[in-house]
């Protein structure tokens, strides 16, 4: 699974989405009411654990976290910034 798919799977499961087809990867998660402020913290905890990154306070912004796509590209940027790690190129989806 790509990073984006893993994030998507987590969000569908954790926020018990009834119809996955209704959740587009560019849908705004907080604005649409799917994710509340506690939910954003759950997402942060997930990406930190799943992808071995640390999310700084000043990175907790809608630009980084408001949609599945944005989270995926944020994770990709973080992992690149962390220097060469073990992930394969197929792991990072185009965002």
């Amino acid at each position: 699974m790509t990073v984006q798919q893993r994030i998507r799977a987590f969000i569908l499961e954790n926020f018990y989405v009834s119809d996955p087809a209704e959740l587009a990867d560019d849908a705004l998660l907080v604005t649409s009411g799917l994710v509340d402020s506690t939910g954003v913290l759950e997402i942060i905890a997930f990406v930190e654990e799943e992808f071995g990154i640390r999310v700084r306070d000043d990175e907790t912004t809608p630009d980084n976290l408001e949609s599945i796509e944005r989270i995926a590209s944020f994770v990709a940027r973080k992992r690149q910034a962390n220097g060469p790690t073990s992930f394969t190129s197929g792991d990072v989806s185009a965002a």
Binding site: L12, E13, N14, F15, Y16, V17, S18, D19, V30, T31, G33, L34, D36, S37, T38, G39, V40, L41, E42, I44, V55, R56, D57, D58, E59, T60, T61, P62
Partner: protein
């Protein structure tokens, strides 16, 4: 306090309705009034009554009639000013046979017609049958303390204190959820009358009177709240506190003394119930019982405050310790009594507490309910004030920091959480001037639960906007009220009436035949509170400012000064983990979820997995808690009120029995069903 039921023909030529239906309805309400039962029937209408004897124990039976037997009443509740009204009515020439407040209703209606209801200071659901005019009059108290449900079926209008009595009386009626009622519940935490959660069933709106005859139906409000206009304050906060104190003392005195049984008090440990108990204590001469819920989970517990008040009042204090297992075990019965989906387990401890009251031999309790709505106690009002202030200068970085005054944990939180909180509270702040602005965050959070709804239900709701419906149904004066008054009105109309007074109030009390009395909802207290300037209620960010002044010296300082703790009970934690009974798994199973048709099976399965995983130590959010309690309560409601055919319990024995069709008539003292 009691249960009422009945029917009236809406068209000519219907065959007489058999007595079995009325008997089944009254039997279904036995828990509301276990002391005595009564019925009246003629060719067009029937009235039933289950009585909890509180006033005029010997001769207060119902249904009861006027001097010539043309006007009959069945009534649930209390008219606290009945002594004063009776004197007025006697001066007008009416003759009384009993000492009851019920008899005041028939004579008041004879003299003043529908204007009678606005003279009643009380909590009531009333059905009056004018047999000469062949007209049924239904009325309900100003804020909806007492319930009254309606349903048209088979050419008749059926009415009852609880929906289960209508279902018992009309078993052929289709029992199903109403999509709009569900959408309202999963937005406001309650339906908003006249809407109910059951298809075809409506609720008489609080403060309304309805006149039903074969010529048609007329429904109108006999009362709407009046809030202070923007004029300069007529007095100082100190003077206002004196007036509020006097009005509250009167309200408590009426509620303590207008009863022929002892009256006790609930005591949560907060300001409102402590104040009510303190005033009640001063009226009561001898034994005065107070009742408190304690929690095994310390997070929810308020024991030290409760004990401090009880010691100060020297009351006979009763404590009930509630565990997660207690909540879980009581929950099916709680839902059956509440008759609506719940998003919190808060009603469950109060269901258990009323049982303890009953066991202590007390039938009537005072509670502090209504103070937060009338005197502006909720965080929501303070939050609304800050968000509006911010919205007027939406780019301000300083204004949102006021939120930290409201939610001190934000100061200690990481910046990320503060950023998120700002995002949450700031959403839509440009619309700070629109009605419902203060409530939008709460309503939107709850409405997000609708993503659990099945595709079919979501499809049926696609063009329904319940917030728009609510805001379109406010009184004509609403736009002229201050923002705080608008917020207070919406709060009273939704959460107070539908949840606190119903699911957490009447239903949990009456489950064990206990009558609640609410001094803060006294007609004079409400008028006075609504007439106060905003700044006397919410002074800066000091909530219930005037009420705190009243309470000083009457309750321990620690209780006046403590920060407000919302009443909460363990929610999802009560249903997961070892020892959880099988019914929970059954109700979240694919079959049960599919049968009820409300929720999506996959979504419920994912929710249930998440909740079970939390039992191993994970955290559940507020949203997860509401979701699980909402799913379980909806499933329990479906199982108990929709799927199961209403049982016809063994009939009750009628002490009052007036059947004009058979000519049978039994009155108290004369035995039952003696031919007349």
């Amino acid at each position: 306090m009691c249960g009422i039921a009945g029917f009236v023909a809406l068209r000519e030529g219907l065959p007489p309705q058999s007595l079995d239906e009325l008997t089944a309805m009254v039997s279904a309400l036995r828990h509301r009034g276990p002391d005595e039962f009564g019925l009246y029937r003629d060719a067009h209408a029937g009235l039933g009554h289950a009585r909890l004897s509180v006033i005029d124990l010997l001769t207060g039976q119902q249904p009861l009639c006027n001097e010539d037997g043309s006007l009959w009443v069945t009534f649930n509740g209390e008219i606290f000013n009945y002594v004063e009204l009776r004197a007025e009515l006697e001066a007008l020439g009416h003759r009384f046979r009993t000492r009851s407040d019920t008899e005041v209703i028939v004579h008041a209606y004879e003299s003043w017609a529908e204007q009678a209801f606005e003279r009643f200071n009380g909590q009531f659901a009333i059905a009056l049958w004018d047999s000469a005019e062949e007209t049924l009059i239904l009325a309900r108290d100003r804020l909806g303390v007492r319930p009254l449900y309606l349903c048209e079926h088979g050419g008749r209008l059926w009415f009852a204190s609880e929906v289960k009595a209508i279902f018992a009386g009309a078993p052929a009626l289709t029992r199903a959820f109403d999509p709009v009622g569900l959408a309202e519940t999963f937005t406001f935490w309650t339906v908003v009358p006249p809407q109910s959660v059951f298809q075809g069933v409506t609720e008489l709106e609080p403060g309304h009177v309805r006149r039903i005859s074969r010529r048609g139906t007329v429904d109108r409000a006999f009362w709407t709240p009046r809030y202070a206009e923007g004029a300069a304050p007529a007095s100082s906060p100190g003077e206002a506190a004196e007036r509020v104190r006097a009005a509250l003392e009167d309200a408590v005195r009426l509620r303590m003394l207008r009863a022929d049984v002892p009256v006790g008090s609930y005591l949560s440990g907060g300001l409102d119930s402590s104040l009510v108990a303190a005033l009640g204590r001063r009226v009561s001469g001898g034994r005065f019982c107070t009742f408190s819920v304690r929690f095994e989970d310390l997070e929810f517990d308020e024991t030290p405050y409760q004990r401090a008040v009880a010691e100060r009042l020297e009351s006979e204090h009763h404590e009930l310790v509630v565990s997660r297992e207690d909540i879980r075990a009581a929950f099916p019965a709680v839902v059956a009594h509440a008759e609506r989906p719940l998003l919190r387990t808060g009603p469950a401890p109060l269901f258990l507490l009323s049982r303890q009251v009953r066991e202590a031999g007390i039938k009537v309790v005072l509670t502090g309910e209504g103070a937060d709505e009338m005197f502006a106690g909720y965080d929501l009002f303070r939050e609304g004030k800050i968000r509006r202030f911010w919205g007027r200068q939406p780019e301000s970085a300083l204004r949102p920091r006021l939120l930290e005054r409201l939610y001190p944990y934000l100061v200690r939180s990481p910046v990320s959480q503060r950023t998120l909180a700002r995002e949450f509270f700031g959403r839509g702040r440009a619309q700070w001037d629109t009605p419902g602005f203060a409530h939008q965050p709460r309503w939107q959070s709850a409405a997000a639960l609708q993503r659990l709804f099945s595709a079919e239900l979501r499809d049926r709701l696609r063009r329904v906007d319940v917030v728009e419906r609510l805001l379109a149904s406010v009184p004509a004066e609403f736009p002229g009220w201050s923002s705080l008054a608008q917020d207070q009105y919406l709060e009273a109309r939704t959460l107070l009436s539908g949840y606190l007074l119903s699911s957490q109030g009447d239903r949990m009390l009456m489950a064990h035949s206990i009558e609640g009395r609410f001094p803060f909802l006294d007609a004079h207290v409400v008028e006075l509170a609504n007439g106060l300037p905003d700044a006397f209620k919410l002074r800066g960010l000091d909530e219930k400012h005037v009420l705190k002044r009243v309470a000083r010296g009457l309750v321990p300082d620690g209780v006046v000064e403590r920060s407000k703790q919302p009443y909460r009970a363990p929610d999802a934690q009560a249903f997961v983990g070892p020892g959880a009974p099988g019914w929970i798994e059954d109700l979240t199973s694919e079959r049960a979820v599919g049968d009820a048709g409300v929720f999506d099976r996959g979504a419920v399965a994912r929710l249930w997995r998440k909740c079970q995983a939390s039992a191993a130590g994970g955290q559940l959010s507020n949203f997860d808690n509401m979701a699980l309690v909402g799913v379980l309560s909806t499933a329990l409601l479906h199982e108990q009120l929709i799927r199961q055919v209403p049982s016809r319990a063994p009939g009750v024995e009628f002490r009052t029995f007036v059947d004009r069709l058979s000519g049978a008539c039994g009155r108290p003292g004369s035995g039952i069903a003696a031919g007349v």
